[in-house]
């Protein structure tokens, strides 16, 4: 009976885990595309993405100061100490309004969307892999 209960629980958690895991995977891909390190430190303020914490071992969620890549959803989150970091956003509005944002990752119409600014890629001298080039505009 105990085993059946554990199996059921694992089954349920496996399904609820899926969509979140996709988000975590994409965050990890973006972080590793920008910073070539085994474990990349990221900071994220978006509540929709907070639960992805701990799902991928190659990404460590940390404070804004210690992060290599920062994902912001609100302009207020950005403090001066973090200005020098790689800046990504989860809001298309911020992507358009903040000049120093490298790109945006957001969920729209049930699908993940990534857009990357070509001007920032050139400015920061980031080399993107082939799979990421299609997101550049």
């Amino acid at each position: 009976m105990k085993i059946i209960f554990i199996l059921m629980l694992s089954f349920i958690s496996l399904f609820s885990f899926d969509a979140l895991h996709v988000k975590a995977e994409i965050l990890s891909h973006i972080a590793h595309e920008l910073v070539k390190k085994d474990v990349v430190n990221i900071y994220i303020d978006d509540k929709k993405f907070i639960k992805t914490k701990g799902l991928i071992s190659s990404v460590k969620y940390t404070s804004c100061q210690n992060a290599d890549v920062i994902f912001i959803s609100k302009k207020e989150t950005l403090n001066k100490k973090c200005n020098s970091k790689y800046l990504f956003t989860t809001s298309y509005y911020l992507y358009q309004s903040l000049p120093d944002v490298i790109g945006v990752f957001f969920w729209q119409k049930g699908r993940p969307n990534i857009i990357i600014k070509s001007s920032m890629i050139k400015k920061l001298n980031i080399s993107l892999s082939e799979s990421f080039k299609k997101y550049v505009e």
Binding site: A19, K109, G110, I114, K134, Y135
Partner: protein
């Protein structure tokens, strides 16, 4: 009773296999019907998407077809189109939007009828998850669709090209929600589950029957083998007696001479070893097609298959008698026992067709051999 049991066992297996095959047929037929029904729902959904796309294009054509490129800069008109698209958004068509292709070949939003929190900005870059589908609509310049497996809550995407002078200027996209499909699934899932359970149950019953059958067969086989000598026993003879063709068979009844005195002198353990050794010699002296049976105690019955010359069986009987009598049975390092056998032989010529009558004749000959001094062969003459 045992014969009835045998017939029933076979019948049981035949019925089990028919039931299993029937269940297979039922299961796959039902799955096929479900598949066809699902295809039909998909066809209806595609048809609806087609009609809706036609209606949308008819409504917005005056605004869009001629000036689709210039519209990209005209926020007022594109907002108006987006508003118009919202009228077609419902539980069935979750997202309705128009994409254009910019001078660099990138896809961008021209209008979006989605709810505000999902609505894209004008000229926002659009990266399709199914790039090939979007390339197809550009290449084929006709409506295309594909199932959505990467997007949440979406079943399929239906794309209609917006043409100007034979060139695709934009693409109208309808994302069909999984609602219809879920409704169908809700209806079908309990049936599907019931069928799966039914099929599993039938399969489990079949496996149990099969295992029972194998166990039964093994037990039956065990029950027909004598545990001491590993020869067939009388139970085996009872099972096969009705199938024996006496015109192609000879019967040898064989008894170990003075076996009782072996038991009395050396004990039952040594007596058992003598029986085992005798059984081995009998097996060695006969062919594979002959059957050696422990008839009871120290008495053995041998069914000799004699194809043409029945007289050859006399030579076989002689060989058996010599094989046993010639060499002593070595019980252990210190003890070897010399035994002889008496043989009653029935060649089954002019057979009565009753097996046990022929056995009786062979048995009479055995007793005759015993009476006449043992270690000899007596042949039944009809």
């Amino acid at each position: 009773m045992k014969k009835i049991l045998f017939v029933n066992k076979n019948l049981f297996f035949v019925i089990s296999i028919i039931t299993l095959l029937g269940s297979f047929w039922l299961y796959f037929n039902f799955k096929d019907v479900l598949g066809k029904h699902k295809d039909e729902i998909q066809r209806i959904e595609i048809n609806r998407a087609h009609k809706t796309s036609e209606k949308i294009l008819l409504n917005i054509q005056p605004h869009i077809i001629d000036k689709v490129l210039s519209l990209k800069d005209n926020l007022k008109i594109t907002t108006k189109i987006s508003k118009l698209l919202t009228y077609y958004r419902n539980d069935e068509f979750k997202y309705v939007y128009i994409i254009y292709i910019d001078e660099n070949g990138a896809y961008r939003y021209l209008a979006d009828g989605s709810e505000l929190d999902e609505r894209a900005y004008l000229a926002q870059k659009f990266t399709p998850s199914k790039t090939l589908l979007w390339q197809r609509v550009l290449k084929e310049k006709k409506e295309v669709y594909d199932l959505q497996d990467n997007a949440e809550g979406l079943w399929l995407t239906y794309l209609t090209p917006i043409l100007k002078d034979g060139k695709v200027e934009g693409i109208l996209a309808l994302d069909v929600s999984t609602q219809e499909f879920n409704n169908f699934s809700k209806l079908i899932t309990p049936l599907n589950k019931a069928l799966n359970i039914f099929f599993l149950l039938i399969f489990a019953i079949f496996v149990v029957i099969l295992l029972q059958g194998i166990l039964f067969y093994n037990e039956l086989k065990k029950s027909m083998i004598d545990s001491l000598t590993k020869l067939y026993n009388r139970h085996y003879l009872e099972q096969v007696s009705s199938k024996i063709k006496l015109d192609k068979m000879a019967i040898i009844m064989l008894d170990v001479d003075h076996f009782k005195s072996v038991n009395d002198r050396y004990g039952h353990a040594i007596g058992d070893l003598v029986l085992i050794a005798t059984a081995r010699k009998l097996i060695a002296a006969t062919r594979l097609e002959d059957k050696v049976i422990r008839y009871g105690g120290e008495e053995f019955l041998i069914l000799i298959k004699s194809a043409k010359v029945k007289q050859d069986v006399i030579k076989v009987a002689q060989r058996i008698k010599n094989a046993i009598g010639k060499e002593k049975i070595r019980v252990n390092d210190e003890l070897s026992i010399n035994i002889t056998v008496s043989i009653g032989l029935n060649l089954c010529e002019n057979s009565t067709k009753f097996f046990y009558d022929e056995v009786k004749h062979a048995d009479e000959m055995l007793y005759k051999a015993k009476r006449n001094g043992r270690n000899r062969i007596e042949i039944y003459k009809n």
